[in-house]
């Protein structure tokens, strides 16, 4: 499929295809939505099975769910402080959704919904609105003091305020572009080297030997992509925590 017509077709893997036949076509239900539902289902199953037994010595599922729970709880309390406990469900849901999206996307034939800017920008916009509303509810009008540091000379306000506002508005953009670019770059690289394997493999006697090179690169890349999947979910969660810290404390 990748090497049709002897060209490298690295981008068709991101195309949305309606699933579920005519019903899916009518409501625009694509394989991206299907994978989101799959990820939510897997997270739910992991947590429900994990807490079912409540054993003193945890089994596999309980150990995994407790590990995820404690990891995010440490992250939230470490970054936001004790007041951050009530935002734990929000950060946990975001982290698990992004992590499972990244990991499911690495399986063959699967689709990576975090490789679409629409999805990551939607998540980042949610973070942006939640943090802004939290700050407005907690601090009221004092929130706007965030855009002008105390002690700065007043005549600098026409310069400082627009720069701070643009810097604040750039948060959801950088948050979403980082995740989206990492996932797209990884999957394009995998596809390009996989295409090299097929193209070189067809080069007569020397082909299979030469094809070993891109194949070994791909093996390394898959390991690297698993690292990136965890790392980007972690970065997304920790940046959400940092923004929540700013919203709660308004330093």
């Amino acid at each position: 499929m990748a090497a049709e017509g002897k060209t490298i077709d690295a981008l068709s893997q991101f195309e949305l295809i309606p699933v579920l036949g005519p019903v899916g076509r009518a409501v625009g239900f694509s394989q991206s939505n299907a994978h989101m539902l799959l990820a939510v289902g897997l997270v739910t199953i992991l947590m429900l099975v994990g807490i079912r037994k409540r054993a003193l010595v945890p089994g596999r599922f309980q150990a995994a769910s407790e590990m995820f729970y404690e990891f995010i709880e440490n992250l939230v309390t470490g970054q936001v402080g004790h007041e951050g406990k009530k935002y734990f469900p929000f950060v946990f849901a975001l982290f698990m959704f992004v992590l499972f999206g990244n990991l499911i996307g690495l399986l063959p034939y699967a689709f990576t919904y975090t490789s679409h800017i629409a999805v990551t920008l939607g998540l980042a916009a949610t973070v942006f609105f939640v943090t802004t509303i939290v700050a407005l509810v907690l601090h009221g009008r004092k929130f706007f003091g965030y855009f002008f540091p105390e002690g700065a000379p007043l005549w600098l306000a026409p310069i400082i305020v627009p720069v701070e506002v643009v810097s604040y508005l750039s948060r959801p953009v950088s948050l979403s572009v980082r995740l989206f670019a990492n996932m797209v770059a990884g999957h394009v690289l995998l596809k390009v080297f996989a295409t090299f394997v097929v193209l070189l493999g067809g080069l007569g006697a020397i082909g299979p030997v030469a094809a070993l090179l891109p194949l070994s690169v791909n093996v390394l890349l898959v390991g690297f992509e698993i690292l990136v999947a965890f790392l980007q979910a972690y970065v997304f969660a920790i940046l959400t925590c940092i923004y929540l810290h700013d919203a709660v404390h308004l330093h």
Binding site: V163, E164, V166, S167, S170, V173, S174, V235, I242
Partner: protein
Amino acid sequence: MEHRDGFDDRLRQARAREGLDPKPPQGAGGLPTGPWGIGLRAGVEVVSALVVGAALGFGLDRWLGTFPWLFLVFFVIGGAAGVLNIYRLFNPPAR
């Protein structure tokens, strides 16, 4: 469950004695601090601030009919905001 025979305390002491616990990460808010991590983050921060600034200026111009002046002003402001983001990346505010 926490205080059963002080097991957690003894485990923590044993782990510290054997040096099994990784040191807490030192960096900007616990974010990855490798050269690639910092470099990619810095690039994304600058470009996103620039894009937001330019888009804001362009939108205001469309609304007020003053093309290209606000676009130019906000392009510069976006660049300044990008530099500010980089400054915050390397000097995280004290908390």
